[in-house]
Symmetry: C2
Subunit: 261 residues, 2 copies
């Protein structure tokens, strides 16, 4: 039986507003639960799905990656269509392909990219209200950009980790930390080999404060969560994409503020 | 008492998804009901609010205009802030100013602009799903643009009116009818001195079909609703703005697919 198991790599997008995050919880709707239930429905098997990034409650994804194993004859492309037919409309499969037998979405990820949307203003735009954090006044752009530069490279990001987290090491490699500004919309993006719990939201909460942006170097050095800024709210955060060794360009859905041309 | 009544012009934006349209109905949430209730709360008076365009269930607005009269000392700018503090987050006041005593949002409107978003594809983009109509394959752009040109000018639009409507005349002046294409996103916009019931949605339903775009001249001439296309669904439609004599540029909120830069 085990020999007949095929391994699949799913890329999916979701609007996290209605969910208590990725991971299965009792009595709360989660992305993992919806996905496992959908896969059960189409394959008739009970499966366990593992994701590259276990997004928190209210956090969105454009290109989350998840793996599962199943004994099925269905072509990967048909699985995609069948899943989209049974999943709720706020979860969409972007891609489904057969993967190496030992594919592990979480542990084999090379690089992940998270995006965070901040709207500079007292109130968010009506039609983007579910996907930004409105911040009345931001530090000067140059100040935030200098702080972002300071985040790049290998650092101990302990100061940006939720208190109470248990991980072996809080050192991460930040490949790129950038800011794109389009009018009032400020999009932060972070590419790293991994992220600590609430790390992106703590980074953004720090960057949007004058003190935080100015003192980011000292905050990193301190390893003290209390010196970093507040945890930015979940609705501005998107897991944008994940890459794997030898698997080419990642897939991703169109985001709420993406350009179409 | 009547002498003390001041007249106000509100410009408002709303996401119509949760509402049964503008107009008050028993046992259904409507924009008008929310607004009248909010004005009552802040002024202590029972008021009636009249809108430029009575949008249907599920239709959105970026710059709807509504008028009301109240005996209040509050400055217009304070009314705006107070209303936004009590209104649900899917209804936002963009502007509030004192108007002429005899201001009538509906009857004095010079020009209204409606926008309709069509997404060319089998499925809408996840984060725009509430604000577009996904159409698998559109006619060639030149064909839709030629049809739009044909709509401009004074015409009897009876073929694009819901059956059963009762209006004095079905002749309207279409100042501009245009299409903007950004990748898969096709935004139709219509500026006219007035619109018949479901007219924009019937126009869009006609334009997105090959036959409809090709034969729009004959469809207009026929005055026959059955020759026009289907009524496009409400979620793609936005009342963009309304102008009045001597009142300058209209106000409007940022739409879900607007550029920010």
């Amino acid at each position: 039986m085990t020999d007949a198991l095929r391994s699949f790599k799913l890329t999916l997008a979701y609007d996290g507003a209605a969910y208590s995050g990725w991971q299965i919880q009792k009595n709360s709707p989660t992305i993992q639960a919806e996905l496992e239930q959908a896969i059960s429905r189409i394959t008739g098997q009970t499966v366990r799905v593992a994701a590259a990034g276990r997004t928190d409650a209210g956090v969105h994804a454009l290109g989350q990656v998840a793996g599962f194993k199943a004994d099925t004859d269905m072509a990967a492309e048909r699985i995609k269509g069948a899943l989209n037919a049974v999943l709720p409309e706020d979860i969409r499969i972007i891609d489904c392909r057969e993967a190496e037998r030992d594919f592990q979405a979480r542990f084999q990820a090379l690089r992940k990219c998270y995006r965070y949307h901040v709207w500079e203003g007292a109130a968010p735009p009506l039609f983007g209200r579910g996907h930004v954090w409105a911040v009345k006044r931001l530090p000067p752009r140059e100040s935030m950009e200098a702080a972002l530069k300071r985040l790049e490279g290998e650092h101990d990001f302990a100061a940006f980790q939720s208190t109470g987290s248990q991980v072996k090491t809080t050192v991460r490699q930040m490949f790129r930390a950038e800011l794109e500004v389009r009018g009032k919309l400020h999009t932060f993006s972070f590419q790293a080999d991994g992220f600590l719990r609430h790390m992106v939201r703590a980074l953004v909460g720090t960057l949007v404060s004058h003190d935080g942006s100015a003192n980011i170097g000292n905050i990193i050095k301190s390893r003290d969560r209390s010196l970093a800024g507040r945890t930015a709210p979940p609705q501005g955060l998107f897991l944008a994409w994940v890459t794997y060794p030898g698997q080419g360009e990642p897939h991703a859905a169109v985001g709420p503020f993406d350009r179409f041309d």
